[in-house]
């Protein structure tokens, strides 16, 4: 088991956003968390990436206690994330955005950076190469030197994901990776996410409201409501769970797409 949450509770003032939640994500999975708005999904992600500290409960990753880690140490331990509402470095170029994703693995010292030593140059070159591999994978090479703020939202989302995986994490946390994308783009992203798992061996924990993505690529789905897990299982199990239909999916419209 790669990631394990035990009895995690998070509250803000009087509001309990996550309530006694248990969650287990196995290696190599695409694991989805779904649930109504405000159910506490993003909060969970924020706990794993250590932006929040739960009031109680434990979170362990590869058997290691995550809660003792500082936020900036999380990436080095193999967990990376994207953001619900893209959180890019908007006045930096696409390439630089990706390179920041490699930050913990660049070891040159301040001095060798300042004096541009050979070692530093080599390291930078190597880093750029990796970045270009990612750009290739995402088909974004032609945007490499553009500032991200000038790019369409869809592309920004891709860069957000690209920045998250450049460090080759074990676990990737995706918060609504296809929100705001059209069907074509969603399909492309679905393929990409599957490839990340298959080719790079990245375990994926994602939150998404787009059921065409969730139901297509997830191995396992947890459903949350009011901070609690109300169901967990495979796609079919979840899809047919009346509680899930009532709280989240709603009645399937008969005339959709006809």
């Amino acid at each position: 088991m790669l990631l394990e949450l035990k009895k995690v509770t998070v509250s803000f003032g009087g509001l309990t956003a996550v309530n006694n939640l248990d969650l287990q994500v196995d290696e190599g999975m695409i694991f989805a968390i779904i649930g109504p708005n405000g159910a506490g999904k993003t909060t969970i992600l924020n706990c794993i990436s250590r932006f929040y500290t739960p009031c109680s409960g434990q979170i362990s990753f590869k058997g290691e206690n995550l809660l003792t880690k500082k936020t900036h140490k999380v990436l080095a331990s193999g967990i990376s994330r994207s953001f619900q509402n893209v959180e890019l470095f908007s006045k930096m170029t696409v390439l630089d955005n990706l390179l920041v994703g490699l930050h913990p693995s660049l070891k040159s010292s301040l001095l060798s950076n300042a004096f541009k030593t050979k070692k530093n140059k080599q390291e930078e070159e190597a880093a750029k190469e990796i970045a270009f591999e990612i750009l290739e994978l995402f088909d974004l090479k032609h945007h490499a030197n553009e500032e991200v703020r000038n790019l369409p939202f869809g592309i920004q989302k891709m860069i957000d994901i690209g920045r998250a995986i450049i460090s080759k994490p074990k676990l990737l946390l995706l918060d609504e990776p296809v929100a705001g994308m059209n069907i074509e783009e969603t399909k492309k992203n679905a393929e990409l996410i599957t490839r990340l798992r298959d080719e790079f061996g990245i375990t994926i924990l994602m939150i998404e409201h787009d059921m065409s993505l969730v139901m297509n690529i997830s191995d396992r789905i947890a459903v949350m409501d009011f901070g609690k897990k109300i169901a967990e299982g495979t796609v079919t199990e979840v899809q047919n769970n009346p509680k899930v239909i009532e709280a989240y999916l709603g009645e399937v419209q008969e005339d959709v797409g006809t």
Binding site: T42, N46, F51, F83, Q84, N85, E87
Partner: protein
């Protein structure tokens, strides 16, 4: 002695708070720290002084007249200088106000010279003695004016739609426009009003600091400090911050070292901010990811 020091500190503190109000008003609506606030106050005080001495108008008439001019002046500054750079980075706008500060000070120097002159007090100069503590009517008057203004604006921001609109404009100009808020005229009027506040501050402070182009230098810095200590967006915070600085400064000057009182004040501010990074009454608003 401590009692008198505290009274003196409170008096100085209410000057700082008074000078801070206009600063906060502009900050609340446009996120700009107006470095020229004190100099605008100084110019208006000079204008009021001209009414008093050249045209020999009565005190309160020249007071009111200069506030009318202040309103126009503030609006003009916004229209001419701030409006064109509304979309530039905030820091650039702030540096622009620094440019205004230099020009206003320089122009005042050219027109009125740098020799300090006395300025009349608002009320007849009487003072009370009570258990060995002296306090003047004018000190009480300044404190009362400051408190009333603060409360007035506090309620205005909290409970009126225009107040709400001003806060919204500072957070997101484009979306504020989508609400139907005439953002431009909100900004213009804000500058007008804060120039009025500046004028009131200047006219009430001038009897203490005397009138010359540098009159607001020290007060301006302390006002900025008071505003920040209080939380910068909080009007009651300005009073709390101002009074705290005034009293603390007095105590340090009285019991520790008068030369290092500013050093101690700033150490206090850093300490307070270290414990509460958004100031005493400032609210921490987290960004959610």
């Amino acid at each position: 002695m401590a009692g008198q020091i505290i009274i003196g500190g409170l008096a100085a503190g209410s000057l700082y708070a008074l000078a801070a109000l206009g600063l906060i008003l502009i900050f609340k609506t446009s996120d700009i720290v107006n470095f020229a606030q004190g100099e605008m106050a100084m110019l208006i005080t000079f204008i009021s002084f001209t009414f008093l001495t050249v045209t020999k108008l009565p005190y309160f008439v020249s007071f009111l007249l200069s506030l009318v001019i202040a309103f126009i002046f503030g609006m003009a500054v916004e229209r001419i200088f701030m409006r064109p750079v509304q979309k530039a980075p905030i820091l650039n706008q702030i540096i622009l106000t620094f440019g205004l500060y230099m020009v206003f000070r320089g122009v005042a120097g050219i027109i009125w010279g740098y020799t300090p002159v006395g300025f009349p007090e608002a009320l007849p100069n009487k003072h009370f003695n009570y258990v060995g503590i002296t306090i003047t009517i004018n000190q009480i008057f300044i404190f009362v004016v400051t408190t009333i203004l603060m409360l007035g604006f506090y309620l205005f921001f909290k409970h009126t739609k225009i107040g709400l609109a001003m806060r919204a404009s500072s957070q997101n100009i484009a979306t504020a426009k989508l609400m139907g808020i005439g953002v431009s005229s909100v900004f213009t009027r804000t500058w007008g009003i804060s120039a009025i506040l500046g004028g009131i501050a200047g006219i009430l402070i001038a009897p203490v600091t005397f009138l010359d182009p540098n009159m607001m230098g020290e007060v301006g810095i302390k006002a900025f400090a008071a505003a920040i200590l209080g939380g910068f967006t909080s009007l009651p915070g300005a009073i709390v911050g101002g009074l705290l600085i005034g009293v603390f400064e007095g105590l340090i000057a009285g019991y520790v070292s008068s030369e290092l009182k500013s050093v101690f004040v700033f150490a206090l501010i850093i300490l307070v901010l270290y414990v509460k990074p958004t100031g005493i009454l400032g609210e921490k608003i987290t960004k959610k990811v």
